[in-house]
């Protein structure tokens, strides 16, 4: 009698313990977020340490725990190599207990990791890359393209430049998924508006001497030199264009420009350039407050990808909390039901193809006289509503979209 009572009590306590745990299942007892970024290469200024800090800030602001379990943020350098990025993602998903991978600057890496996410059925949020594949042929319920993409850049800067009279274009394209994808999107916008693409020159990632490419652009006699590269590449190309007198007869269109690039060029060289960004630190009180906190931690103002890293991490953690679990399918469903209203966007929603819909903005770089403080670089030219900024579902190649 005593033995069976003890047994019964033991059984009851075991049941009681497991019953409590079953209502809030967090895999591995921790919610782990991996920031896969360019930590040391050409895009490290745009991604890098800032991206990691942004995600950490989100975890801290969320309270450090979700569903009673600790939130852990780890990071790794993908070295701008898709195979290294994919291998890291696999390792993180298989043995690292990572529930979500964020940032993914570099379109080649983002594409490779999107394939891994689809296969492993685990979450990724792309903030630092533009390639359209994330929401088209590589789409899945587990991949979200949050900040910006090539279509929105093309319909922002590209459209504005064409409508201002830039009918013939010559492209300076960085030779990998990002540049090629962006060139494709902008070419389409140019042709649809009645313009022509006169030619293109492809350059390797990390080119420092653009002299021969600028010469080719000048020889083409196009109205516009479209720079389908970013970061140090764009900065060097713009400098070379000025050095070789290309800006005397032709105009430059920097198709993806960051505030760090404007900072590197300096306002005298960058003034007047148009750029499309999803977010800017000086938009309102909320953005300024976040930017100040980021600046205190990192030493520079946040760019749109880093702000998106923060906002998307918050969205993910909120989804986990509301779903009551970090099970990928439950969280995916929750994320596509939620509306986001925070310092990144007033109204944001994840679409069925994984595209996070929010307003985009067209900016112009201020003249040195207009700038009143450090990092005071941009003035707002136009707001592009979400429905116009992003690829319509009717054109999508994603198999989740019901036609």
């Amino acid at each position: 009698m005593k033995n069976s009572l003890r047994l019964a009590m033991a059984a009851a306590s075991v049941l009681a313990l497991t019953a409590g745990a079953a209502s809030a299942q967090v895999s591995g007892d921790v919610v782990r977020i991996g920031v896969l970024a360019d930590m040391s290469g050409i895009y490290s200024d745009l991604s890098g340490k800032g991206a990691v800090e942004a995600v950490k800030m989100a975890a801290e602001d969320f309270g450090g725990t979700v569903l009673g379990k600790k939130i852990e943020v780890i990071s790794a350098d993908h070295l701008n190599k898709p195979d290294i990025g994919a291998a890291k993602a696999r390792e993180w998903f298989d043995t690292g207990g990572v529930d979500m991978i964020n940032d993914l600057a570099n379109s080649g890496v983002a594409r490779a990791v999107a394939t891994v996410a689809k296969e492993k059925k685990r979450h990724i949020i792309v903030n630092g890359a533009s390639n359209m594949g994330i929401t088209n042929e590589l789409c899945s319920p587990y991949a979200i393209h949050y900040a910006y993409d090539a279509y929105s850049l093309a319909h922002g800067t590209g459209k504005a430049v064409v409508e201002n009279g830039g009918k013939s274009w010559f492209f300076l394209t960085v030779d990998f998924a990002f540049g090629i994808g962006l060139e494709e999107q902008v070419s389409k916008v140019v042709r649809d508006a009645g313009g022509r693409v006169v030619g293109a020159a492809r350059h390797p990632l990390g080119t420092t001497d653009f002299s021969s490419f600028i010469l080719q652009a000048q020889a083409s006699k196009a109205d516009i030199i479209g720079i389908a590269s970013t970061g140090a590449d764009a900065v060097n190309a713009i400098r070379a264009a000025a050095e070789f007198g290309a800006t005397k007869k032709q105009k430059l269109a920097a198709l993806l420009l960051w505030i760090e690039d404007v900072h590197g060029l300096g306002l005298p060289a960058a003034q007047g350039l148009s750029l499309t960004n999803a977010w800017y630190w000086d938009m309102n009180d909320q953005t300024r407050a976040f930017a100040k906190r980021f600046h205190d931690r990192v030493g520079k103002m946040p760019n749109m990808a880093q702000a998106a890293d923060y906002s998307s991490t918050m969205m993910y953690l909120n989804a986990v909390k509301e779903a009551g679990t970090d099970d990928p399918d439950a969280v995916s469903k929750k994320m596509r039901e939620m509306t986001v209203s925070d310092m990144f966007t007033k109204l944001g929603k994840v679409r069925v193809d994984g595209r996070f819909m929010h307003d985009m903005y067209l900016w112009q770089v201020k003249t040195p006289e207009e700038s009143k403080a450090p990092w005071d670089y941009l003035k707002l030219v136009a707001t592009i509503p979400a429905e116009q900024a992003f690829q319509p579902l009717s054109e999508s190649k994603c198999d989740l979209v019901k036609k």
Partner: protein
């Protein structure tokens, strides 16, 4: 006017840029050829000394305020001294051994130098400002040539000519040439051959450092700037003829132009055209265009 279907402005423009590249090739291959000619060492570290020259110019500019013009002398001197130290304490020990040892030693130096700078200075480039006196561009009609690049071509020609004069027309140069052919006899005449070797290595890498300072305003100063160039420079030294000073300088300039032309007609070939030429030259004239057959 179109030449072979290409507008003549585009052609001339790329040839001009090719000459600028050729200027760097010439100065670098000069140092390499001298070092190989006398020390019989394949100096894989040549690109790293080029990078060192650029970084020293950048660092003394940023931290000590030493401008471009003094850096043109100070940086190569520092590089030369570092080279001398390397030769005295490391390279000397492998003379006369299998050339493979020289390869490993100098290649190891490259890895150490590049890795060290990558850790200390990051892998993205640092920009070096063009000296104010050389800003602006010359309107050549078919293109705007930045003044600095025209200056680079001029300086390279002067340096190569000066080096040729030193080697062919001075006593020091005569000792050098003698030590290259018969080090034992030269030593017997009382000339301090080991000292000559040390100084030569220092001068050779000093030339590389000088090229690095010249390159700083054009390329961003970054740890891998040397390794991108050094492979082409090796090919040029082989084409020009190992040990021939004049050969490497002329070949360097010439191949810069050939590369520029390739960019106009078939851009993808521009990175490989130098090696195609090298293969051809080796088949037809194994000693190189200006080299002598080893008797």
């Amino acid at each position: 006017m179109d030449i072979f279907g290409v507008p003549h402005q585009a052609l001339l423009g790329q040839v001009m840029l090719g000459m600028v590249n050729g200027a760097f090739y010439a100065v670098l291959s000069l140092g390499l050829a001298i070092i190989f000619g006398l020390l019989r060492v394949v100096n894989f570290a040549h690109g790293a000394f080029f990078m060192l020259g650029a970084f020293i110019a950048f660092l003394i500019g940023r931290n000590l305020g030493i401008g471009y013009w003094p850096s043109m002398i100070v940086a190569p001197l520092i590089v030369g001294v570092l080279g001398i130290l390397f030769e005295r304490f490391a390279l000397r020990r492998i003379y006369g051994l299998d050339p493979l040892y020289g390869l490993f030693l100098t290649f190891g130096l490259v890895l150490v130098l590049e890795g060290g700078f990558r850790v200390a200075m990051g892998s993205s480039g640092h920009s070096y400002p063009t000296p104010p006196a050389l800003r602006g561009a010359l309107d050549l009609g078919f293109m705007m040539l930045p003044m600095y690049r025209a200056f680079v071509i001029l300086v390279a020609v002067v340096v190569c000519a000066g080096t040729w004069v030193v080697i062919e027309k001075t006593r020091m140069g005569a000792y050098l040439r003698a030590a290259t052919e018969r080090p034992d006899l030269t030593q017997a005449f009382g000339i301090n051959v080991p000292l000559l070797l040390t100084v030569t290595y220092g001068a050779g890498v000093g030339l590389a450092g000088f090229a690095g300072v010249m390159a700083a305003p054009i390329q961003h100063v970054n740890p891998s700037m040397g390794s991108d160039l050094v492979i082409i420079v090796f090919a040029i030294v082989v084409i020009g003829g190992l040990g021939s000073v004049l050969g490497s300088a002329v070949t360097g300039l010439g191949l810069g132009v050939v590369e520029g032309l390739a960019k106009v007609f078939y851009a993808e070939a521009s990175t490989t055209v130098v090696f195609l030429v090298m293969a051809l030259v080796l088949l037809l004239r194994p000693a190189g265009l200006f080299g002598q057959e080893e008797g």
